[in-house]
Symmetry: C2
Subunit: 405 residues, 2 copies
């Protein structure tokens, strides 16, 4: 598998995209994105488990019954959530306008929204924006599309990989957005993947669902699970590889690449957490069950106290022990080892649940870098898990003290 | 029931207390507290559910088998948690030294600790401190005791009430500490109550357990459940009321007063949350079950996004809907009403799940006060619950970015 630097969605054969400023955002930043495949795609998606689901998600659940998805239309700056029956109608209109511009069926269009909750979409602005964006669809619009789905993100999140199945060149490319309200459960804030792989719908769904468990579902910025989370993958089959319709060797190659793309996008979201200065990667080793390892890892990345300590480059391992202890994961506190590491070195802090003498200066050096790995060995079983998060900073509070007004 | 302003633990007949600076804290602030009853007390306690439990809690579980508790010794500045077998020995020594000074049995002494996790107690300092404190026990030491259990608290938390059972005057007085690592489950950071009521042990335990559910277990500062949480009540029986040994009318009077004391102390802890500028009281009305109402209320007070919005006086009700949605509580999003109120007025924000037109200026005025009530009507059943929390501020990050070093 090769990672293709500088490429985007539209480097996958058959996919066009556009990202424009329609006027939904007051800032004149890009806020409307369309991804379009000339040929029909097999599609799979996962959505938020929040009981309050945004209108576009409800529309997508219906449209995903179709076996021929052609396009995704996404606006940023407004979440179209808690907007009642008008919101549902607006999401449907977004699909209809896109479909009519592209000469496809409304059911072949998926819809996404992200931004402020509870405010009706300005539909005249959105409709004009969709028309403009459809007119600008191109085979190099992928980078603009990545920008147009951003809200408080500080950089666009994208990745493209290439690999081979039975001599056919397969690409998977994804874009994602997410910075605050990030604690996904079954999916994350918007992520859109496209591939030219030829893959059957059920197996694509299974691959996505499984992949999401170890990527987006393992990140947290602030513990808040959004109303609008969604991950969508479109596969147009133009690689003409023998169709992947079972969990065979071809599936394994595809799944490996899909996992890589999803994990990289997840890490970008965690690193770009609102106000964050550091990416925190927590690996829990030797849990009794996979669930125990995952619960322990996520509890550490979700703790406000642990996150604040990382911001202050303070090796406060007691807070890590505390967050393990209140997680729902099983473990024996008297067996736990904890270490920090990154490019500057490795330091052991805890052995068998109690402190080892460690050099504060060396710990400070590791903690001052922008990526920190926390390795927690439960010495209790065979299961490992990794979660990603970020530090809690003044800027998180600043950004969220005045997001709406 | 009367609230006695300016009174403390030692205004309950038979209780002495002391609070001194022993040198555990570098700051020379008070850090060692003893509460002592000349006559033996019936005692009940609840402890943290964190799997990582501090050493003193393990000692107390054993000592609470005794029917004659005389004293509580508490240090602040060091949690004696994650300190292994030495920590356990140190907690036992704290009880033994106290007992030997007071001429009582070691099993009649309960122990508490709060502060930094993972650092061994400086036992020479602690031992000398206990001896000094025992020498200073007095019938007006209650205020000093309240100060000596503080860590990042900005004010001592205490309350005393008086009521009558069968012509006998009963007092309940409590002190508490807690500011960060506050998300109690079965108990909170340290809270010590004393009463002169004559009450049987099993019924006292039942009353405390039930009371804790609706008070300490309904507050959150930062979502982190401490390793050291404990609530202890000592009843010395000197009021000579007919012993309360069943859930009769006398029990109801006692329980009402106990609930009031615990709720007031809980609100003080939430209000004094690390860096907090506002007390947030969230009342959920008409849940399908009590559990649904509680889960919904706690989810709102625990959301970093909601808390940041309150800091910024931003009426961002979408985040409240979102946090309800990812709670484990059942409700119908399309039935939800949300309002804010306090002494400056009442404002409706949401009816049936969607926004109502409201005056931003009036909302801002309500949100700028230091106490804000959020009223959420699920219109879905008969159960109500109230949770307390605080806003998330720059100072929370500041305090916790450098707590240890």
């Amino acid at each position: 598998m090769k990672i293709l630097e500088g490429k985007s969605l539209t480097d996958v054969p058959g996919f066009k995209a556009a990202g424009i400023s329609s006027g939904i955002k007051k800032s004149e930043k890009k806020d409307l994105c369309i991804i379009y495949s000339e040929t029909p795609c097999t599609a799979a998606a996962t959505f938020t488990t929040n009981k309050v689901k945004a209108a576009p998600l409800l529309v997508n659940v219906k449209h995903l019954q179709s076996d021929a998805i052609h396009a995704v239309v996404v606006n940023s700056g407004n979440a179209n959530a808690c907007t009642g029956s008008q919101g549902l109608k607006d999401a449907e209109t977004m699909a209809e306008v896109t479909a009519s511009q592209l000469g496809i069926a409304p059911e072949s269009v998926l819809v996404g929204s992200t931004g402020i909750i509870g405010v009706p979409l300005p539909m005249d602005v959105v409709t004009n924006g969709i028309k403009t964006a459809c007119g600008q669809l191109s085979f190099d619009g992928g980078h603009d599309a990545a920008k147009a789905i951003m809200t408080t993100d500080t950089f666009p999140k994208k990745i493209t990989v290439e690999f081979t199945i039975k001599g056919r060149t397969i690409f998977i490319s994804g874009i994602a957005k997410g910075s605050g309200m990030i604690h996904p459960n079954m999916a994350t804030m918007l992520s859109f993947l496209v591939t030219n792989a030829n893959i059957e719908k059920t197996i694509l769904s299974a691959a996505l669902k499984n992949s999401v468990e170890d990527s987006y579902n393992m990140i947290s910025v602030d513990g808040d699970t959004s109303t609008n989370d969604m991950v969508v993958v479109l596969a147009n089959g133009t690689a003409e590889n023998p169709v992947i319709d079972q969990e065979n060797d071809d599936y394994i190659l595809f799944k490996e690449a899909l996992d890589y793309v999803n994990k990289q996008l997840s890490k970008m979201i965690a690193k770009d957490g609102e106000g964050a200065t550091k990416l925190i990667e927590v690996t829990v080793l030797h849990g009794q069950t996979l669930q125990d390892a995952k619960l322990c890892a996520k509890s550490v990345t979700s703790s406000s106290l642990v996150k604040s300590a990382f911001f202050g480059s303070d090796a406060n391992w007691g807070r890590i022990m505390c967050s393990l202890g209140y997680s729902a994961g099983n473990f024996d506190p008297e067996k736990v080892d904890i270490a920090f590491e990154n490019s500057t070195g490795h330091i052991d802090l805890v052995k068998d649940g109690i402190s080892v003498l460690f050099c504060e200066e060396q710990a400070k050096k590791i903690l001052s870098e922008d990526t920190i790995k926390v390795i927690i060995d439960l010495k209790d079983g065979d299961y490992n898990a990794t979660a990603w998060g970020c530090d809690l900073t003044y800027d998180y509070v600043k950004i969220n003290g005045s997001y709406r007004t």
